[in-house]
Amino acid sequence: MTILATTQRAIPRVSSRPTRPPIPLLLLAGLVALLALVPLVYLFVRAIDGGLDAFAPLLRPRTLELIVSTVTLGLAVIIGAVGVGVPLAWLGVRTDLPARRVWSILAIAPLAVPSYLLAFAFVGAFAPRGWMTTLLESLGAAMVPSVYGFGGTVLVLSLATIPYVVISTRAALMRLDPATEEAARSLGRGPWAAARTAVVPVIVPAVGAGALLACLYAISDFGAVSILRYDTLATAIYSQYRFSFDRSGAAALALLLLSFALLLVWAEGRVRRRAALATPHGRKRVPEPVKLGHWRWPAIAFSAVIATLSLGIPVVTIALWLGDGLMRGVELEVGLEALRDSLVLAGSAALLAVVLAVPLAHLVVHFPGRWSTLTERLLYAVYAIPGISLALAVVFFTLGAVPALYQTLFALILAITLRYLVQSVGALRGPMLQVSPRTVEAARSLGEGPVGVLRSVTLPLLRPGLVAGATLVLLSGLKELPLTLLLAPPGTSTLATELWDAAREAFYAQAAIPAALLLGISFISVGLLVRRGEVEI
């Protein structure tokens, strides 16, 4: 899963007197809320189906082990992501590191690469007889540590979450007024003391918010932990659901993971508000970059090692698979079929998301108040819910309430739409700000009817947001794993599930084409994010 609505939420809303939103808008928001919440309620219903006994699994020692392993993973990933992400952000913003812009883009690029793809590439590279293993052994390494288990999982998920810390820290460093540091100096503190007392405390909330996102990502992750065989709540939910008779146990675990995630979302929101308060003024002056001198070589080496691990390894591994697969004559059709199914699925979700997003963005932008805030929070929460929990909720809901929808394409598309709706609403925010009631009134006073206004003013203004909103959901939908895995109708295979099957059987050549396509899609996502300015470079 990817979480990238962080900067979208920072856009200030237009201040205007609170107006009551029109009833149809509220009804629509209510419907969306209902669609998102009812499955979650069903998760709860399903869990207590068999009375309080259903929660018995939560008290088993095995559950405690899972909680410990999940929390340990979350904490270890925080350390990894912060330990690497903060120096990367600092190098990119405050120093004269050569080719800063390139390094900065490389540092945030892994954002759009799905964790399961990164994990699988690491398996391909570092497994016994993988190309990196061979390379390292030929260089004289006695024993290459196993990629499986805790160490490998922490490595891969840290690499995947470094961008969250980098983006958040960068934003804070860029907004930081150099005069604050100078004020500390003029009040008698040396350079280090000034940094410690005047800069670090201002940056800490931003780093904290990034760290909490990294943690959320790690504990919610399903793909990478499964591939790297590290048991967490997410993997346990899946195996309970797939391989056990006791499905209410899976529901109980999913609820548990859900509460952890919501706790993190809540904490992240609080910390981020503090981070926003900590930098009330914009930056007035660009600070003199820190001269690295001879330290630029270790700095370049550090940046290069991280970029090699998070981008170089997947690119090379997948290229090798592709070469290998082509030589052995792997059927291309399988990959293309999967691409077609993926496109139909994600494309439908993207269209539906945009259709829903226009009125919702209208509500959020033009009627600020209790209802619009609630709608926004809900959309973000749905986005941040662990995919595996959401998937299970939809399964139980369709099975229990509307069996006709169980394992249908429609249910899957709806689930993907709801999950990523916040992306298209976010993309429409900026354009929607320009469609003020005054603009519409101006057009009406100049002789356009309602339809004419829509055609000549509203739609042209919204178009960039519509395109971006659809694209973001499309790209997310193409990469979506847990929802597709649990909800797809039998016989439907997408790029993500193809890759998943190949990974399960360690059948690398078969993975080559879906993996290459997914990697390409990921890089398009990154390019889009950078171009839309959602990541400040």
């Binding site: 007024d177 005069a179 500390a184 100096r185 003029s186 040396g190 201002v202």
Partner: protein, 383 residues
């Protein structure tokens, strides 16, 4: 800080130059701040005034020359004392309060090692009128209150010199006027040596003991406000501070022969050699005559603009040959307006004139009256 004796020098810049890449910010500037007084650096943006502050505070190093604070050397081209050891306080243009610290902690930041830092903090909060606001956070304060916190924070360690960089530029007009008075009073009572930078001539003239007018990295004149106004050193200073009419004149023997009559020139080294010169005539140097062709009048003038600023009225006049003149309308002729035709005569005054020498920034003779940029009526004359 011991209360400075008069005559001591709080800050001295000695032939200081500073360039950023190829842009010369300061060109051989020498400047002194007398202890216990306030100096205003006045000039348009980009004239180098902020660079002076950054050199004194230690955030820039001079390319040439020396900087002294309270008689101690602090910087030259080869080495310098770091900012934290200079005893120089700073109020930043954008305040730069520590956003993560309360008002109280902001003020106490520079004096945490003092034994009585709590008492001193209370004293300062009291001084700036924020006694009850200690626990609040900066973002909860209004602009004016933030300004006071910044001042209290800078004053807390009892700096030898306080530097203020356009300290009121982010405030609205009413708040600005009020804070100017307050800050001046606070600094006066503390006998605090201070330099402040401004591009607002009204601010410079009302607040400072001395004003240094700067242009393109050079100091054109340093003098008390009244002297800057009455005896500007260059035509640029004359037009930058107040409204100025620069009229062609023939100088001989300390007297300027202008189209409006003969005017004695103020003595001193600035007095031009005999010959062609530009003579400074302020609007209040004239009397308006309602009869344009009376015996004392210098020709007929049409009123082409009228600026009312509450206490006074300025009229822009145009002669038949196109020459323009800013003239103050006295109480008897306040009814005059556009289209009226009047005469003018010169009062019994002394003024200055600018000769050819040193007139690199002279206003060209074909446009003798300064344009509106020098004639911003709301700050046209010191109030």
């Amino acid at each position: 800080m011991t209360v400075p004796r008069t005559g001591e020098v709080a800050v001295r810049l000695d032939e200081v130059s500073k360039a950023f890449d190829d842009v010369v910010a300061l060109d051989d500037v020498s400047l002194e701040l007398e202890a216990g007084t306030m100096l205003a650096l006045l000039g348009p943006s980009g004239c180098g005034k902020t660079t002076v502050l950054r050199l004194v505070s230690g955030f820039e190093q001079p390319d040439a020359g020396n900087v002294e604070v309270s008689g101690r050397w602090v910087a030259s081209a080869t080495s310098m004392v770091p900012p934290e050891r200079r005893r120089v306080g700073l109020v930043f243009q954008d305040l730069a309060l520590f956003p993560h610290l309360s008002v109280r902690d902001n003020v106490a930041y520079g004096i945490r090692r003092d034994r009585d830092h709590a008492g001193r903090t209370d004293e300062l909060l009291e001084l700036v009128g924020l006694a009850g606001d200690g626990p609040r956070m900066p973002h909860q304060l209004s602009g004016g209150m933030q300004q006071r916190v910044a001042l209290a924070r800078a004053l807390a360690p009892r700096p030898d010199v306080l530097l203020l960089d356009e300290p009121f530029s982010s405030l609205d007009q009413a708040m600005r006027t009020q804070l100017r008075v307050e800050v001046r009073q606070i600094l006066r009572e503390a006998r605090q040596s201070a330099i402040f930078v401004t591009h607002d001539q009204g601010e410079a003239l009302t607040m400072a003991d001395k004003v240094a007018v700067m242009k393109r990295g050079r100091v054109l004149q340093v003098a008390p406000p009244e002297v800057i106004y009455a005896e500007p050193a260059t035509p640029y200073v004359a037009t930058f501070v107040g409204v100025a009419n620069l009229v062609p004149a023939e100088v001989s023997d300390g007297v300027a022969d202008t189209p409006f009559g003969r005017v004695p020139l103020i003595g001193g080294e600035g007095r031009p050699d005999d010959g062609h010169a530009l003579c400074l005539l302020r609007p209040e140097h004239f009397t308006i005559l309602e009869a344009p062709d009376g015996p004392a009048s210098s020709g007929g003038w049409d009123v082409i603009d009228r600026r009312f600023s509450g206490s006074e009225i300025l009229l822009e006049l145009r002669a038949s040959d196109g020459q323009r003149l800013w003239v103050e309308a006295g109480s008897r002729v306040r009814h005059l307006g556009l289209g009226d035709r009047v005469g003018v005569s010169l009062r019994d005054i002394e003024t200055v004139a600018f000769g050819r020498r040193g007139s690199t920034d002279a206003v060209s003779l074909s446009a003798p009256a300064s344009g509106p940029e020098g004639a911003t009526a709301q700050t046209g004359t010191p109030r």
